[in-house]
Symmetry: C2
Subunit: 135 residues, 2 copies
């Protein structure tokens, strides 16, 4: 989206202020997904054309990268940039919010607790777990 103002909140929303972009980043961070088909199979069932356009935009905006898979030439490997990884704290706060207000949340209690009281370590562990999947 074109920049609406210099407000730091508005700015983030210009990048990921829609229903899908953060879910793609979530899948890359929390579920270790890397390919198009994996991303397509999330619980929320994003339409394939929307997924395609979001991936394009996230790449253009520097939040993810897209490479060819060396083993399977049909596949592409999607990965987070540092800017994309740095969206994680925003997501953790969302997890905390839902932990408080959504009785039906599927967030594990332990994750919510750690987001509250062991943030920094949780963040490094989650990001390290990505590294191990992107050798």
């Amino acid at each position: 989206m074109t920049r609406r103002s210099n407000c730091p909140i508005s700015n983030v929303l210009d990048f990921v202020g829609d229903k899908w972009s953060l879910l793609i980043l979530r899948d890359l961070i929390f579920f270790g997904k890397r390919s198009y088909s994996e991303l397509q199979n999330s619980d929320e069932r994003m339409a394939t054309n929307i997924l395609s356009s979001r991936l394009e935009r996230l790449e253009k905006d520097g939040l993810i990268t897209k490479r060819a898979d060396v083993n399977d030439k049909r596949k592409k490997v999607y990965a987070l940039t540092q800017a994309g990884k740095d969206m994680l704290p925003i997501m953790l706060e969302m997890i905390i919010w839902s932990g408080k207000y959504d009785p039906a949340t599927n967030a594990p209690e332990q994750l919510i607790d750690r987001a509250k009281s062991d943030r920094e370590k949780l963040i490094s562990e989650l990001l390290e777990s990505i590294e191990s999947k992107h050798p």
Copy 2:
């Protein structure tokens, strides 16, 4: 938006996953706005029909309340519920992100620094400053 899954991130996006809702909460928290016309005059210039529909939805979703103004019967007073206030940490993380990646951000350095290293106190101060405006 209708609930797409039980994911805690998806859940928050179901409430505020659009370009405008969080900016309304921002204006209520950071700028102490309370009336329709004040909300209409943000830098991002939201269309009035969109503002109207978002306020309606935020109220229905329990993130804000709408009362009549006792002094001026034309006016309505919009205020945050606790659930709305609890979106603040999410916004603070957005401020931190923009502080790192947006060279043109208008976020005061002191705010960014405090969001990083003095969060809890910053949160209470911001929320208290709202109280004083909603006596």
